[in-house]
Amino acid sequence: MPPLNFSIILPLLVLTVWACLLLLVDLFVKNKGITALLAALGLAISLGITLSQVGATGTSFNNMVVLDGFSTFVNALLLVSGLFGIALAYGYVKRMGIERGEYYTLLLFSVVGMMLMAQAADLIIVFLALEMLSIPLYVLAAFARPNVNSEEAGLKYFLLGAFSTGFVVYGIALVFGATRTTSLAGIVSAANAASSGTSSLLLLTIGSALILVGLGFKVAAVPFHMWTPDVYQGAPSAVTAFMAAGAKIAGFAALLRVFSLAFPSLASDITPIIAVISALTMIVGNIIAIAQTNIKRLLAYSSIAHAGYILMAFVPYGQKGVVATSVAAGLFYLVSYALTNFGAWAVVIALEKAEGNPSTGSGQRGLEIADYAGIGRKHPALAAAMTVFMFSLTGIPPTLGFVGKFYLFRAAIAGQFYLLAVIGVLTSLISAYYYLRVVVTMYMREGEPETTSEPWLNLTWGLAAVLTVIVSLVPAPLFDWASQAVLKLF
């Protein structure tokens, strides 16, 4: 047996142990704020180790996990997302009366699963990671129990998540049947050997398509998106924010690695499928979002639409000259989406109220778009931040979302998917309509909004807004890192 190299998964390992200990420590800590800080400390330590590993590569556990630029980049992003997730939850759970220490432990475990996803070099590990990241999220979605909506969200997410995991497992089984291996490297050589039109190639194609379906559920791509609006709306906002960013990053990390590494020989079959899914996701997500009046649902559909944009980075995954930059573009867009997403949800949380006023009817809990009226006047900084996020989600300069989309469309054009690029820009135009509606409400309608001001929350939206603008003006270092990260993949 080869010696195990634990340094490959050191950040993950540290975080796992930390989370286990936190579970115990929390039992004896009365003040749950301390649990939150400890959880954040764990993430920070893990982040420190991750950053110290930039440039390091290696594999371990019989080539089942891998450490490379890609995993380091994604892990760093996931850990930062975790930190944002805790910052959002810190005051929120207190205010909503759902403060329990398990929140932070579950969040840490979920991050562990996500990080494992980024490091997986074997389909079994992909499956393991998928479960590890999903199960804590199911619980977190239902965290506001006995709130009916939250319970519904948890159950829905659990059922559909389990269903989608089934697809992944079946896909892995078929791939194993076709290639007699689950290791990504092994699949490539087996697929190349079998690429002479035998039946195993068919199995391989079906298997990879099923994996695509399963992961499509996780990242909320159309037509596997049905759970998203209800779950995003029902789950506590802080959870939704973390879920929207974290699960998407992990899902896309797995998609990017599995498909570009294991299935490049299937590109001629898979590329059209991904292109259609991407186009559908952009169209459906953006068009249904127009009709939403609830900010959480709006952001849910926006999240669906953005899955479509990120999928665009994937479409040319079989083209040798293009794939590196397009995957880098995908990574960059994930960063921009995560940052904008956390900012926008932070604003949502700032306006959300624990108890509604039944007499006013709709908009009781500060979650209707109409509740945003008058923020521009009452809370200029908050409104300005939200405006930045909305513009970033639309893709208007000078925000990170614009630079991200610029890179993504470049991937589509360089891969000569002109129609897809046109669909992408036209749906961006549609999205401008509903994102601007939020801005219109904030600045151009009169109202008496009630907001909450908490230090960590303010820090989150403030930092996110500033970074969204500044990084868009100097995107080179980040993009450089992203492209260095994918270099080793190909």
Binding site: T325, A328, R377, F409, V422, A432, Y433, M444
Partner: protein, 508 residues
């Protein structure tokens, strides 16, 4: 430090300093806010004069270039690249010139949320100046889209009753065009390997079929902005709902960004496609001229009339540009300036009377000549300038354009100029009609209405006269002695048209 001290960089970003200062002034100190913004924009204007003194008119190339690598990773070659030449210098001056004037015009018109208004206004100035100076397509696109945001807020927050609708329409229309341009920009960046406009021109060699597609994508963005018929329907709404300063800048500068875009990008980057598309665009331009004039005549709202007259006037500009000869293009550029001056002045004047009467309906006006003689005189001069009376600026521009269109070898038909000349006559009709309704005849009901509220309709005060007189100076100057203006742009235009001759020859 070296970066910021370059004249063009300094000129573009100086208003940001004003923004910074504004942020630290409390919102209820309205006059302090106004003075800060005014001084910031005045200094920007002074910087632009400084730039003008350094500008060598006989050099057709880009001057005072500021060029730095910006994003040069992973196959990108994006530069921070500013430069000025004969095509843009007048438009830059127009921008920096109209900005303080517009700020001055808001002195009493904007009382609500003054701080935000001025913030957005200065940001808008940054964007506009940047659009005219950027020589890298990525940078250009950022400035181009960025102008949308402040203008959207200016219309949406301080506009008239249908402001939200107008603001959204403005935003979505403009964005619809510009995202198609974005794709074309990306295509150029990927397949030509650079975003820098001079490099792209030097490289050339795009096959004519692709050129045409790229031309269309760029034209989509610019035609909406100009706006060319039939893409003009956002303009009347935006103009009518926008606050006065917004209208002035919208008509004076933002629309010019469209025509300038055609000039700077469509003509230079895709010369063969431009030659091919010239007749189509010229037809649309002529339709725009006549349509705009005809619809203007039918309006009951002063601002709407001026808005539709913009469609007509910008049709002239487009016709001049796509005559593709030196006269046409020079006339086009001059007409851009003229339109900025006279339409800007018209909107200012309408704003001044609106501030007192709160209505823009013709039918309530009448007989103002006696009540407000100074206002009447200035209004008359500006109107005559707008309809193209010889001796005033409009005439010079329109006449040069018509000459260019007549002599154009690309259009090769006198009918374009013939029909366009019809537009000049129609302009006389609707402008004089407006003037007559407002100033002649018996006293309109509004005079009495205002009097009922305790104070009579007053004539222009000093601030208003100071606001409008600089515009009048240029209206006369260009009308009587346009040579210096032509002199500034001639070498660059000659260089541009020389490229066309080559392209047209290559096509035969």
């Amino acid at each position: 430090m070296e970066f910021i001290l370059q004249p063009l960089t300094l000129m573009t970003f100086f208003p940001l300093l004003g923004v910074l200062v504004l942020l630290f002034i409390p919102g209820d100190k309205k006059n302090a806010l106004r003075w800060t913004a005014l001084i910031a924009s005045l200094i920007t204007f002074l910087i632009s004069i400084w730039v003008l003194t350094m500008f060598n008119a006989s050099n057709p190339d880009l001057q005072l270039v500021a060029k730095y690598n910006w994003i040069t990773v992973a196959g990108w070659n994006i530069q921070y690249y500013l430069g000025i030449d004969g095509l843009s210098i007048l438009l830059v001056l127009l921008t920096t010139f109209l900005s303080p004037i517009s700020i001055l015009s808001t002195w009493t018109a904007v009382e609500e949320r003054v701080k935000e208004f001025l913030l957005f206004f200065l940001l808008l100035e940054v964007g506009m100046t940047g659009v005219f100076l950027a020589q890298d397509l990525f940078l250009f696109y950022i400035f181009w889209e960025f102008t949308l945001v402040p203008m959207y807020f200016l219309i949406g927050i301080w506009g008239g009753p249908r402001r939200i609708y107008a603001a959204l329409k403005f935003f979505l229309y403009t964005m619809a065009g510009s995202i198609l341009m974005l794709l074309a920009i990306l295509w150029l960046g990927i397949y030509q390997g650079t975003f820098s406009v001079p490099d792209l021109i030097a490289k050339g060699g795009i096959d004519p079929h692709t050129q045409l597609w790229l031309f269309i994508a760029f034209a989509a963005a610019f035609a909406i902005k100009v706006p060319m018929w039939p893409l003009h329907s956002w303009l009347p709404d935006a103009h009518v709902e926008a606050p006065t300063a917004g209208s002035v800048i919208l008509a004076g500068v933002l629309l010019k960004m469209g025509t300038y875009g055609f000039l700077r990008f469509n003509l230079t980057l895709f010369p063969q496609a431009a030659v091919q598309a010239a007749p189509v665009i010229a037809v649309l331009a002529v339709i725009g001229i006549i349509y705009g004039a005809a619809v203007s005549y039918a309006q009951a709202d002063i601002k709407k009339l001026v808005a539709y007259s913009s469609v007509s006037h910008l049709g002239f500009v487009m016709l001049g540009l796509f005559a593709l000869n030196p006269q046409g293009i020079q006339g086009g550029i001059l007409q851009m300036i003229n339109h900025g001056l006279s339409t800007g002045a018209l909107f200012l004047l309408v704003g001044m009377i609106y501030e007192q009467t709160h209505t823009r309906e013709f039918k309530v006006y009448g007989g103002l000549w006696k009540v407000t003689p100074i206002f009447g005189t200035i209004f008359l001069i500006v109107s005559l300038s707008s309809m193209g009376l010889p001796g005033l600026n409009g005439f010079v521009g329109e006449f040069t354009i018509l000459l260019g269109a007549f002599g154009s070898t690309v259009l090769n038909s006198p009918w374009y100029a013939g029909f366009a000349a019809l537009g000049v006559i129609m302009a006389a009709v609707y402008i004089l009609y407006m003037f007559q309704k407002m100033f002649m005849g018996p006293e309109g009901s509004i005079v009495e209405e205002v009097r009922k509220h305790g104070h009579a309709l007053r004539d222009l005060n000093w601030r208003e006269i100071v606001t409008i007189v600089p515009l009048l100076i240029f209206i006369f100057w260009i009308g009587l002695y346009p040579a210096p203006f032509f002199h500034l742009m001639a070498p660059s235009v000659d260089k541009l048209t020389a490229a066309f001759q080559a392209a047209a020859l290559a096509m035969r």
